[in-house]
Symmetry: C2
Subunit: 204 residues, 2 copies
């Protein structure tokens, strides 16, 4: 179905390798502990090629840190949903499927990195914006014409807004797959999600 040409797969592979190298180096030495030259040496590509794929090392690091996997499984699951499911239902299910402990771990790492290096934030936000656009197109396709224009924008925006403060650490929740925190009064991600969708479903 989604068949990419050999050429495109290779291109993606180099981008992936470069991003991964950048991410590993960021973990090992910190964001300013390495330069693009180090990245391309590790991945065995040229500096020029790096510039063809990424604007800067920050972009590469974020790209690697936020790579989703299991997208196709999730889409298969979503396809199984009942015919009368609402956009809200689909979004809820999608969040439950995609926001795994592993993804949260990645995001946590990225967050703590971006707290020490504010240079990262714009690129994190930019990547999230791209994901948001993709989700929107998917929803628009699923529910084409069934809701007035702007409905999905608002809905996804709300969900995006609900997730963002967790990502950037301004709202502390107990993430799935984490050890139980020393402060047991923080709400769990699932509770937070349920409550949030409650507001969206029934109004504020």
């Amino acid at each position: 179905m989604n068949k990419l040409s050999l050429r495109d797969r290779k291109k993606e592979a180099t981008a992936h390798a470069l991003a991964e190298s950048a991410y590993q180096l960021a973990l090992e030495r910190g964001l300013d502990g390495f330069v693009v030259e180090d990245v391309v040496q590790r991945a065995e590509y040229s500096r020029r090629t790096f510039a063809n794929h990424f604007a800067c090392k920050e972009e590469a690091v974020v790209m690697a840190a936020m790579s989703f996997d299991g997208v196709e499984e999730a889409e298969a699951e979503l396809a199984k949903m009942p015919e009368n499911a609402t956009p809200l239902d689909v979004l809820y299910r999608w969040l439950k499927l995609q926001f795994t402990a592993d993804l949260f771990r990645k995001m946590r790492t990225l967050v703590s990195m971006s707290q020490q290096h504010p240079t990262l934030e714009p690129y994190i936000l930019s990547l999230f914006r791209r994901l948001q656009r993709e989700a929107q197109e998917a929803l628009n396709e699923l529910f084409a014409g069934r809701h007035p224009e702007g409905y999905t924008h608002l809905l996804i925006g709300a969900v995006y807004g609900a997730i963002l403060p967790i990502i950037d650490g301004s709202l502390q929740v107990q993430l799935p797959g984490d050890q139980v925190d020393e402060t047991p009064d923080v709400v769990s991600f699932d509770q937070y999600l349920d409550r949030s969708f409650g507001y969206l479903r029934d109004g504020f």
Copy 2:
């Protein structure tokens, strides 16, 4: 009340002058039609000083393009709101007050710029994120303890999400203060806002 020291006002003045120069140059020659050197020459500062205030010219341009004015008037208006106003009411009123034709014109300009130069987008998003945080703190202070944690995050996130597609052009609405478009089937900003807040108030 908000009295800044002379030193701080001067600092802000240089930042403003630099940002303004950058913005003007971007309008005149396009984003890649000038370099930082040009900016500091026009504003009569040194290249080093520019670097003290901004990470790059993109940041400066966005800063200038999105400067809000009339914030204090808006706050005065909000203070007059009835005691039993909900966060939703306050946000609605604030949007009506702040999102003037002038601000929209600025944002439009910035959007068309960022479509030709994707480098801008991360910095636009970053600035918006900062505004979002500020709005959130303001709301949290106003309604301290009256709503569960995450309530304002979700609410402001939704509003943010509703505005964003207008900013970035993926949702076309008739902005206040614009000529009537040649395509009369686009919804007006006020209608869009009312409908959106309807969803938020009554549920999706």
